[in-house]
Amino acid sequence: MIYFDNSATTKALPAVLDTYRKVSEEFAGNPSSLHALGDHAYQMLEGARKQIADLIQAQPDEILFTSGGTEGDNWVIKGTAIEKRPFGKHLITTQVEHPAVINSMKQLESLGFEVTYLPVDHRGFIDPADLKQALRQDTILVSVMAVNNEVGCQQPIDAVAAILEDYPNVHFHVDAVQAIGKGLMASLRNPRVDFITFSGHKFHAPRGTGFIYAKSGKHIAPLLTGGGQEHNLRSGTENTPAIAAMAKALRILLTDEPQKVARQAAIRERIATHVQQKANVHLFSELAPDFAPHILCFAIRGVRGETIVHAFEQHEIYISTTSACSSKKGTESSTLAAMHADPKLATSAIRVSLDEYNTLAEADAFNAAFDQIYAKFGKLMPNED
């Protein structure tokens, strides 16, 4: 079995699940309880928070736990809208964000907020000049993803940050769900970035885990109110075992990160250089430094993406059409549409996404399977001339 769908989700590591089980059993108290069992669990929770803070070079009180990327995106966007409503009702994002961002924005639009969706070029990148034009007196939030989940382009976070230096009151949110562990920490932790969303299950932590970085001094309103957990910003009994497991997964992820990134880049390159020899293959992801090392999106002209996914499944190789969120609905990828890709070609798009544990041998097996599949569907493709 070869699992190349890591941008959809990753498998929780055994060591991470060990922690989950042990913390469930041995730190079973509610961190808010006054008695020793509660204190025990509280120490674990805060230990996890500190470890995560250290790993991303932040302060512990800048780390707030969530249920994952969708909650993080929703929280920062709607929380900013609620918090900063008196200062303005204009938000800026891009056309290629994850639905958690896009649909939060849409909901705000229905409530009377205005949203500017920055366009992207044919490679998937926004133009910082467009952002400059879009910024207004009443802009309260700029939300830009670090790595696109469908094609892997890395948005120019540093350039956006530089523009926003002149707009110190605008919240700058970066969706880093696909960026963590991919060698991009320096950009993510650009001092102008105010909020960052992370999702645990994309880095081998259990589902339902995540956290946001919220820069000290930057405020968002809570969406979940109740017992006052997380400094009264995100109520609900803390999921101590899952949070501890996530802290461990993050530590493992970021150990030897450069070597892991290099390996993923090598695997991606081996697949890309192999498949692009075929005349009817079109790469949407580029082998360029401004693309993430773990995502490769390409299409075989004339063959629907879904068909290719199932064909690889026959070889026990698991890939996806574009993002897992849109693939079941059979809709065309929103990123590729925003890139003005030929709509027919876009329906043929498939995505290979890697993790730290994939190998070059798996790339070779993929390439061999690819050759068979390409030959098999030759009839469906345009003539190779």
Binding site: T19, K22, V23, A36, D39, H40, Q43, M44, G47, A48, Q51, A244, A247, K248, R251
Partner: protein
């Protein structure tokens, strides 16, 4: 750079006349205790300085510890070289490359105890000056206040080179000023008072009052952890915990509210006095700062001080809170001190304590209580622990947690 020898200069004790050898002996003992994790060292106390031969032990670690030992004015890590000028040249250039930035000013200061060595003091200074003029034309010679002083010591067994001098903690060797008890609450001020006592050479033992179940185990652990924070300056500190619940309950039941605090404090001080006598301590230290709270006004001090004739020393008496906090941060006790556990000073605190209590009234209200019985039972319940710097009280689970994360 890995050094071979550290030369330690004594602090104020250089001026202490006849007591000198006792001071040096104590400092030697304190240094030996502070460096007990480095068994390879050879420590040689001399009349005006002390030499620590590293014998391959980690110099950075040793110097970090030395920086906390009171009674040291400064110390210089040195490199040992064979008595061969080629070797000396090579090592001088290496040392200067590491410690002298571009354009720095320097001088060479040679000391020669081996008078049979080919070069005399001047000869050595000139030789090394020539060497550096050729090899490091960016450096400037400057006799007064140079950036770098290259110290060369020609001794019988070898030549020692050094370019850095590190400030020591100053003060007097702990123990040379005798022993005292410190009333340690768990707040910000008393650990600072303890640190300042140690700095003046006073060996302290901690007296901590605790009142279960009104105060939690955490409060006790916190006081012990604060003690552990001060141990690097001494090696180990005795922690004396005194049960105070019965006294607090009795005082609360039998004394008018305005005098609750004053009379509780009188009991604490009585106990501190008795413990001090029993443990051959000569004084009581505490963290009182004039006017900071109701129990620390001069009137309160009069009403409380009444129960003892022992000297009470208040090292932070005239410091502002911010000044105290600054020291607490420097000695790394602040973050611990502000952890919010109730201690016995805050429970049963009356809403309106008398800021100007009357001594006669305090004595009068107290008469109704069985003072001797209460004191005796508290003394009987005392527990003494020896606390070392490596001890962990607050976060005993941290290892388990770290393992899981």
């Amino acid at each position: 750079m890995q050094y071979d020898m550290i030369m330690v200069r004594y602090g104020e004790l250089s001026t202490k006349g006849k007591n000198r050898s006792a001071f040096i002996g104590r400092l030697n003992g304190n240094i030996t205790k502070a460096l007990h994790e480095y068994p390879g060292l050879t420590i040689r106390p001399k009349r005006d300085r002390l030499h620590i031969e590293l014998n391959g032990e980690d110099s950075a670690g040793v110097m970090a510890r030395l920086g906390q030992v009171f009674g040291i004015q400064s110390f210089s890590p040195s490199v040992k070289v064979a008595k061969d000028m080629d070797a000396v040249h090579a090592q001088v250039l290496a040392l200067m490359a590491e410690t002298a930035p571009q354009g720095a000013t320097y001088k060479v200061a040679t000391k020669r105890s081996d008078h049979s060595f080919a070069l005399d003091t001047n000869g050595m200074n000139l030789d090394l000056g020539d060497l550096l003029t050729d090899a490091r034309p960016d450096l400037q010679v400057k006799m007064k206040h140079p950036d770098i002083t290259l110290r060369v010591e020609v001794r019988r067994e070898a030549i020692y080179l050094s370019t850095t001098t590190i400030q020591g903690a100053g003060g007097l060797p702990v123990g040379t000023a005798g022993k005292a008890v410190l009333m340690l609450s768990g707040g910000i001020d008393s650990p600072v008072a303890g640190y300042l006592a140690l700095k003046r050479g006073v060996d302290i033992e901690m007296v901590h009052f605790f009142s279960p179940p009104y105060t939690s185990d955490n409060a006790l652990a916190k006081a012990k952890q604060l003690t552990a924070k001060l141990t690097p300056y001494v090696g180990s500190i005795k922690f004396i915990q005194v049960p105070f619940t019965e006294i607090q309950e009795t005082v609360k039941a039998g004394v008018p509210e305005g005098y609750l605090m004053t009379i509780q404090r009188r009991f604490m001080l009585r106990l501190a006095d008795l413990i001090a006598h029993k443990r051959n301590a000569l004084a009581i230290f505490n963290g009182e700062s004039v006017g900071q709270v109701a129990s620390q006004t001069l009137e309160s001090m009069v009403a409380i001080n009444d129960v003892t004739t022992m000297p009470i020393i208040r090292p932070v008496a005239t410091m502002d809170k911010n000044e105290i906090i600054k020291v607490a941060e420097d000695i790394d006790t602040y973050d611990l001190s502000i952890m919010p556990f109730e201690d016995c000073c805050t429970i049963f605190a009356p809403p309106r304590p008398k800021t100007k209590p009357n001594l006669e009234k305090a004595r009068y209200y107290e008469q109704k209580l069985d003072i001797d019985g209460l004191i005796q039972r508290a003394l009987d319940g005392i527990k003494i622990t020896d606390i070392r710097s490596s001890d962990e009280f607050m976060n005993q689970e941290q290892d388990v947690i770290a393992e899981l994360l």
